[in-house]
């Protein structure tokens, strides 16, 4: 076991952190709301090869693993970077598996995304990055389809994320049947793993802001961070975020090093990492906002940016309660219909 990033991994963390910080510092993030996409940031991500970073070399990518990508995403998440690297990477990896990866998607000239929710009636709702992506991969329960076309109309949302509904007329089928299902599941699994890292970054960013604020803000003649009521909550938040970070990284590592003796383990760890990171990112941003007092409720203070995204980045997938149910299904198998006459 070695929990230190390698030198290369550390440089990933540094490069992506600096890149986000210098292109869209937190105090410029509002310039990119409500859409939640900074073309200049995407251009810089393209310049460093991020879009194809975790695409296999055989498909023209750089062949990095999910762990390296997760570290990049965590560094971006910490600065709330308005760029859909997670969705793009997941879509690109999927497209590479069905020989449908175009050079434009590989290098990021075109933004690609994955419709997380199953499409119905040729329509995919609230597609993440759907308002900026020209390539959308969707699954309707039978087939995996790829749509090329203009970005959808932005749907205003809590997280100021580039969500859009996308009609799938004219989409072409790239896989069907069991293959389609398994590719789609794998892609959503990877989305969970990477989003877990993004949420860990978000939580750490919120904690950082909270710590700075309670160290500076004085009430009753002392910094409020000297009060145990705050210290104890911040300690809990910090410990849980440490745990969330370890779990998200382990899940990404497990995807890179699939153990044939436990093929579902990576999927299970991804489900755990996503749920735990979502919960802890929300707690970190919620508590850090609360410790700002009335200022935390002001649009002007940055902590609200974290608070909104913590909920939004996670819930674009589903109700967490259903994700817990899914985790139980992964561990214990699904509940059989006959065994639960009441419908459970």
């Amino acid at each position: 076991m070695d929990l230190d990033p390698t030198d290369e991994q550390q440089s990933i963390v540094d490069v992506f952190g600096d890149l986000a910080e210098s292109t869209v510092p937190l105090d410029r993030l509002r310039d990119h709301e409500p859409l939640g996409f900074a073309p200049e940031l995407w251009a810089r991500l393209v310049a460093v090869g991020a879009p194809g970073m975790a695409v296999p070399e055989t498909a023209g990518g750089a062949g990095a693993g999910l762990l390296d990508l997760a570290l990049a995403v965590e560094a971006l998440g910490r600065r709330l970077a308005p760029a859909p690297l997670v969705e793009h990477a997941v879509a690109a990896r999927l497209l590479a598996q069905v020989d449908a990866l175009t050079p434009e998607v590989l290098d990021g000239a075109s933004v690609a995304t994955l419709a997380l929710r199953r499409a119905r009636d040729q329509f995919a709702r609230l597609v993440p990055a759907g308002a900026v992506a020209t390539t959308v991969v969707a699954y309707d329960g039978l087939q995996l389809v790829v749509l090329d076309g203009e970005p959808g109309v932005h749907v205003a949302n809590l997280a100021s994320a580039p969500l859009a509904d996308r009609g799938l007329d004219g989409a072409r089928v790239v896989a069907s049947g069991a293959l389609a299902t398994s590719l789609y599941r794998q892609a959503v699994d990877e989305w969970r793993v990477l989003t877990a890292s993004a949420l860990v970054g978000l939580g750490l960013g919120a904690l950082e802001i909270g710590l700075r604020y309670v160290s500076e803000r004085e009430q009753f003649g002392v910094p409020i961070g000297s009060f145990q009521a705050l210290q104890h909550t911040l300690a809990d938040v910090s410990v849980a975020l440490d745990g969330a970070q370890l779990l998200a990284r382990k899940a990404a590592w497990a995807h890179d090093t699939v153990d044939d003796r436990a093929p579902d383990r990576a999927s299970e760890l991804g489900a755990m990492a996503f749920l735990f990171a979502a919960e802890q990112a929300q707690r970190a941003s919620d508590r850090a906002l609360h410790f700002h007092g009335g200022y935390g409720f002001m649009e002007e203070y940055d902590i609200q940016l974290f608070y909104r995204r913590a909920k939004g980045w996670a819930n674009v997938l589903d109700d967490p309660a259903r994700e817990y149910t899914r985790l139980a299904d992964l561990r214990y198998g699904p509940v059989t219909a006959t065994a639960s006459p009441g419908g459970g």
């Binding site: 002392v222 000297s226 410990v239």
Partner: protein, 388 residues
């Protein structure tokens, strides 16, 4: 970055499991349950015979062979098996202190008996009025000819009834700030003036009140400098290295609860594992157990890297015990009235929830309360200022 456990640690885990399967039988388990003892001599000596106590000591102190990751594995396996490990934990810790700071007599007479598993030692830290504020200890040691006279009272002196000595924190100086007036002694439990009184606890486990009424010990029983007790305490804490147990209760609960759910059916004959609320509780517990394991592994890894996992050890203990309490609470609820039932036989898994509900409160109290851990994390880890 690599999450693969070290092969030597894994292999040691196999050895520990094999020994436990051989020695810590269902009969021994039942005996512990029936008597409330926190110690099993057969198991302790079997482990000592393997050299595991000696190997737990730092290499520079004549031990070695087992790094912090292997120690963490030892305590993990003991915990997951529900085997008593406090005696082992205290023994390795005090043995390390004596190897580091003990005098010639202590290293000749006492250390070998600890390493061989012949004798146990108990920790005499807490007092009725000095719990979390352990440096406020009032048990007095005053010069008495060539030696010392000790008067006072300790509480929660667990395993004192099985121990040959108490590793005793005393006050030797009233004229200096509290941390600077403390001295450690080894006090034989056979000494005239030593008495103990059992305390029954909520979980059924036994601990003790110990009394020191004019106990006389020679100066050779002193550990460390006069008034240097706090330094000895810090040395002792550093040897725990965040790997001395108490962080696997959630994992054990998960294993037992899953085994129970797989085997059982509800009143309508439906498998327990298909109850939606139980599945939800188990899924949440599985995450908590995974995180607890990662935080414990991190503390061991930090120690193995040659650093002191002060904050990491606190984080591991805090998360693991708080998560255990949360999970126990949910699982007792999930079981409904069946979760209230006590059983005589330890093989009856259904009664594990009820036992855990009684045991859980102490886990966030002993070994440093959650509040003490949070203070440490907030101030040393996060750099927040101490309150006035």
């Amino acid at each position: 970055m690599d999450f693969t456990p070290s092969p030597t640690a894994e292999q040691f885990g196999d050895e520990v499991r094999a020994l436990l399967a051989r020695v810590y039988t269902d009969e021994r388990r039942q005996h512990a349950h029936d008597t409330g003892t926190m110690h099993d001599w057969e198991l302790h000596r079997a482990m000592a015979d393997q050299g595991w106590i000696r190997q737990a000591l730092p290499e520079a102190l004549g031990g070695g062979g087992r790094g912090p990751e292997e120690l963490a594995v030892l305590f993990r396996e003991l915990e997951l098996a529900g085997a008593p490990y406090d005696g082992m934990s205290i023994c390795t810790m005090v043995a390390s202190v004596l190897a580091h700071a003990g005098n010639e007599m202590q290293q000749r007479e006492i250390l070998p008996k600890l390493l061989s598993g012949e004798s146990l030692i108990a920790l005499g830290y807490s007092e009725p009025d000095a719990g979390s504020d352990v440096a406020a200890a009032r048990t007095r040691a005053v010069r008495d000819g060539d030696g010392w006279q000790i008067d006072g009272q300790k509480i929660f002196t667990s395993l004192a009834e099985e121990s040959e000595w108490v590793f005793l924190l005393t006050r030797t100086n009233l004229d200096v700030p509290k941390h600077r007036g403390l001295t450690f002694f080894l006090v034989p439990t056979s000494a005239p003036g030593f008495e103990l009184q059992p305390i029954r606890t909520l979980s059924g486990k036994r601990t003790n009140m110990t009394f020191y009424d004019g106990v006389h010990v020679g100066d050779e029983w002193r550990v460390g400098e006069v008034d240097g007790g706090w330094q000895v305490m810090l040395v002792a804490l550093s040897f725990e290295r965040g790997v001395a147990g108490g962080v696997r209760d959630a994992e054990r609960l998960l294993a037992v609860a899953e085994a129970h759910a797989r085997a059982g059916v509800d009143d309508d004959g439906r498998p327990l594992l298909e109850q939606p609320t139980r599945r939800d509780a188990l899924a949440r517990l599985a995450i908590d157990a995974e995180v607890a394991d990662l935080l414990a592994s991190r503390a061991a890894w930090v120690a193995a890297s040659g650093r002191l996992p002060g904050v990491e050890g606190a984080a591991s203990k805090l998360f693991a015990t708080e998560a255990f309490q949360r999970s126990v609470n949910r699982l007792v609820d999930v079981a409904g009235p069946a979760g209230l039932v006590q059983a005589h036989a330890v093989s009856d898994l259904s009664a594990f929830y009820e036992y855990c509900y009684r045991f859980a409160p102490v886990t966030t109290i002993y070994g440093g309360t959650s509040e003490i851990q949070r203070n440490l994390i907030a101030q040393r880890g996060l750099g927040l200022p101490r309150g006035s």
